[in-house]
C-alpha cells in the first residue's frame, strides 16, 4: 500500500515536472500563454539564436515541446493537401522524424492562413496534430501512428472556404476538436487513446477561428470552454455535456484567456467571467471596451492583463478591475498572440519583428527588437526549457541558451 502511494506520488511528481518543462498546446500547458521559466532570453538578436531550420511547407501553428522534442506542423503541395508532422531535437534542431499524410478534407484557405493553422497538442505520451482540412492524427513521441481521423471526410460539409484554425486541447483522456463553421458545425470529443468519438456536440452555424481553453472550477473539475459568436459554453470533457452557457456574444477570432480561475473573454470588448459553483452560470466580474483585442488573444500576467489591437497598440489593464493602465505602440500588425515569461512579454508581428516588452516598467518598455527577416509570421511562439520557439510561414527558430549538446 505504502509502496503504491510512493509510486503514485512519484508518478504525479513526474507528470508535474513534465508539465512544467513542456509546452503542450496552443499558449502552453495552461492555455494561458504564460510561462514561469526565468531563463528565456530577453534580448532577441542573432546571437540568441540557438538554431533555426527550414520547414518543408507552410503553416502558422505553434510548435509544441515535450522533453527534448519540438513538434511542428505544416502543409505543402499545390493544393496544400500534404500534411506534415515534424519532430526536431530541441537541443540541436536536427530532424528526428517526419510523417506526411494526405488531407482527406477540403484544403482551401485564404492565402494569409494555411492548412496547418491549428496548433497540435500533447498529453505527454502522444502528439495530436490537427489541420484545417479537419484531419486529425495521433502519433507517439517517436512518430508511430496510433490513429487517424478524417473528420473532414466523415462530415464533408464541415469546412470553411477561408480555412479553419481552432487548436486542440486534451482533458481527462479526451481530445477536443472544434470544427465550427457556417455549415455543418460541431465540436468533437475524441478518445485520446483510440480516436473513437466519445461525443459530438452541435455548435452554432457560424465561422469560428477561436480555440477551446480549459477552466478548473472551484471544486477542481476541469471544464472545456468553447467560444463562438454566440458566447461561451462550458462542456464536461468526458461526456460533452453542456454545463453552462454565457450568451452575450463573443469574437470568432481571438480566444479567451484563462487566469486565476477566471475567463477573460473577447466579448463586447473584454468581459471577465468567473465560476460561482459547479455547473452554475458564470458571474461577470467586469467588462471593458478599452481592452478589446484584435486578432491576437489576450494574456494575463499576474495582476495585469494585456491585449493587442489591430493597430498594433498594446494595452495593459488591471486584471482585477479592467482599468486601463497604459498603452504602448508596437510595430504591427499582429496575428500571433503575445506570450509571457517572468516580467517580459513576447510579441511577434506579421512582418517578423520580434519585440520583447518589459512589463514591470510603469508604461511598458520595449527592451529588444529583432527582425527575423521573414514575412507572414502568424504563429504564436512557445516557451520551454529556457528557450523561445517561434516559427514563420516556413522556418522554425529556437532562441535560448545553448546547452552542452548544442
Amino acid at each position: 500500500m505504502k509502496f503504491l502511494s510512493i509510486l503514485t506520488i512519484g508518478a504525479t511528481l513526474a507528470a508535474l515536472t513534465l508539465t512544467a518543462a513542456n509546452w503542450t498546446q496552443f499558449r502552453g500547458p495552461q492555455g494561458s500563454g504564460v510561462s514561469d521559466d526565468t531563463l528565456v532570453p530577453t534580448q532577441l538578436d542573432a546571437k540568441a539564436i540557438s538554431w533555426s531550420v527550414g520547414l518543408p511547407g507552410r503553416g502558422l501553428s505553434s510548435p509544441i515541446i515535450i522533453g527534448d522534442r519540438v513538434f511542428v506542423t505544416c502543409s505543402s503541395g499545390p493544393k496544400q493537401d500534404r500534411l506534415h508532422v515534424l519532430c526536431f531535437d530541441a537541443s540541436k534542431g536536427s530532424l528526428r522524424w517526419e510523417r506526411q499524410f494526405w488531407a482527406t478534407g477540403r484544403t482551401m484557405a485564404h492565402e494569409k492562413t494555411s492548412v496547418a493553422a491549428p496548433t497540435p497538442a500533447s498529453d505527454g505520451e502522444r502528439v495530436f496534430a490537427f489541420f484545417s482540412s479537419n484531419d486529425c492524427v495521433a502519433l507517439d513521441l517517436d512518430g508511430n501512428l496510433l490513429w487517424y481521423r478524417g473528420l473532414g471526410r466523415d462530415f464533408p460539409n464541415a469546412s470553411n472556404s477561408l480555412g479553419m484554425s481552432s487548436s486542440l486541447v486534451t482533458a481527462d483522456g479526451v481530445l477536443v476538436a472544434q470544427v465550427e463553421n457556417d455549415s455543418e458545425s460541431f465540436t468533437a470529443g475524441l478518445d485520446a487513446r483510440t480516436g473513437d468519438t466519445r461525443w459530438k456536440l452541435d455548435r452554432p452555424k457560424k465561422a469560428n477561428w477561436t480555440s477551446p481553453v480549459l477552466l478548473t472550477e472551484p471544486a477542481g473539475k476541469t471544464v472545456v470552454v468553447l467560444q463562438s459568436t454566440q458566447g461561451i459554453t462550458g462542456v464536461e470533457p468526458m461526456s460533452g455535456k453542456v454545463l453552462w452557457e454565457y450568451s452575450e456574444g463573443a469574437s470568432s477570432v481571438p480566444s479567451t484567456a484563462v487566469s486565476g480561475g477566471r475567463l477573460f473573454v473577447p466579448s463586447q470588448g473584454l468581459t471577465v467571467l468567473e465560476p460561482v459553483a459547479a455547473g452554475q452560470p458564470l458571474k461577470q466580474v467586469w467588462r471593458s471596451g478599452q481592452l478589446r483585442p484584435g486578432t491576437s488573444s489576450p494574456v494575463v500576467v499576474g495582476d495585469k492583463l494585456f491585449s493587442l489591437n489591430d493597430g498594433g497598440v498594446l494595452s495593459c489593464g488591471e486584471a482585477s478591475t479592467g482599468t486601463r493602465l497604459w498603452q504602448l505602440r508596437l510595430k504591427g500588425p499582429f496575428s500571433a498572440s503575445p506570450i509571457a515569461a517572468g516580467n517580459h512579454l513576447y510579441c511577434i508581428s506579421e512582418k517578423g519583428v520580434a519585440q520583447v516588452i518589459d512589463i514591470s516598467k510603469p508604461e511598458g518598455l520595449v527592451v529588444s527588437e529583432f527582425d527575423l527577416g521573414a514575412t507572414n509570421v502568424l504563429g504564436t511562439p512557445s516557451i520551454a526549457q529556457g528557450a523561445l520557439f517561434l516559427r514563420s510561414e516556413n522556418r522554425l527558430w529556437k532562441f535560448g541558451r545553448r546547452t552542452g549538446a548544442d
Binding site: 510523417r99 482527406t104 484531419d135 508511430n144 501512428l145 481521423r149 478524417g150 460539409n157 472556404s161
Partner: protein, 375 residues
Amino acid sequence: MKTKTWIVLGALSIGQAVWTLPAAAAAGSVIEALAAIKNVGPQGQGTAAAQGAWKRLSKEPPSVLPEVLTAMDGANDYSLNWLRSAVDTIAGTADGRLPLRELNRFLENTAHHPRARRLAYELIQRADPDGARRMLAAFLNDPSNELRRDAVATVLTEAGAAQGGGKKDEAVAAYRRALNHARDIDQIESAAKALRDLGQTVDLQQTFGWLTRWKLVAPFNNVAGVGFEKAFAPEHNADLGAEYESMTGKVRWQDYETKSEYGLVDFNKPFTQLKGAGGYALGEFYSDKAQTMELRLGCKNAWKIWLNGQYLFGREEYHRGAEIDQYRLRAELKPGRNTILVKCLQNEQKEEWTVEWEFQLRITDAQGTPILSSK
C-alpha cells in the same frame, strides 16, 4: 545409394522448409497487416485492428515497401494515410537499403495508385536525385497529378529559356505542350499568359472546359436565408416551358451564355444585383456513354446541385471565397442527355465583397481533364 539420395533430398527439403518458414510467416504477417489496415474506414472504423497491424508492419525491412505501396491500390483515403505513414516509418530506417529496382518497376506501372507511384518516385529521388530528375520528361501525361506537375514545370522552364534566348517558335511550342498537359490551375494560367505575351491565341474557356450555356430563372426568396431549405418550384419541376411564382411575380426560364474565360454564370447580369434572393440554372451535358466523372464547382454563395433530378450535394456558406474546382462531386453520367440543376443563393450582406452571385462548373475526369459535352 537410393536411400542416401532420399536422405540427402529429405535433409535439403527440411533445410529449405526451415529456411523458408520465417520468410513465409513474415509474408503472411505482412499480408494480414495490410488487410487489417485496408479495413480502416469512416468514423475511425477498424482502428483497433489497424493499430496492431501498423505496429507490426512498420518494423518490417525496406524490402517490403513495394508491397505496402501496392496495397494502396483500391485503398480508401483513410487507409491510404495509414499505409503512407508505414512507408515513411520503414523508409526512415532504410539507411540506403531502399529496394530501388523494385521501386522503379512499381513506378513504371501506371495502373498503380497515383499517390503510391508519387511516393515511390520520392523514395527513388531520395536515393538518386539526378536519376529521378531525368525521369521527369516521361511523366508529362502521367495519371499522377504531382508527377505530371513536375514534368510540366520542366517544360515551362525550357519554354522560358527558349523565350529568353529569342527562340520564339521553340518557346511557343513548349508553352503549348505545357498548356495541353497541365492540370493544375496555376500552370495552365502561367502557360496561357506566356503564350498571349508571345502574341498567341489561347481559348481558356475551352481549356478549362466550362459549361457555358444555361437556362436561368430567378429571383426566389432568400431573405434571412430561408431559401436554402425551401424547395422552390424549379426543384420539383425543371420544365423549361414552366412559369413560376417568384419574389417579383411570374418568371420563366431564360437563355444565358457566359463569355467569361472562367465560365462564370453571373445571376447579377440578367436579374440585377439583388440581395436575399436565389436562382436556378439548368444545364445539359451529352455523354457518349455511361461514365463516372466529376462535377467541379466554384461558388462563393450557398448552393445545391442535382444531376438528372438526383440531389448530389449542397452547402450553406456565403462569401468565404471561391476558386476553380472548389468542390468536387462524383457524377454518374448516363448515355445521352444529362441535366444539371444548380441552385445559387445570395444573402443580404452589404459589403462590397459580397456582390457576387455566381458560380462556375465543369465536368472532368478524376485527374481534372475536362470532358466536353458530345453535343
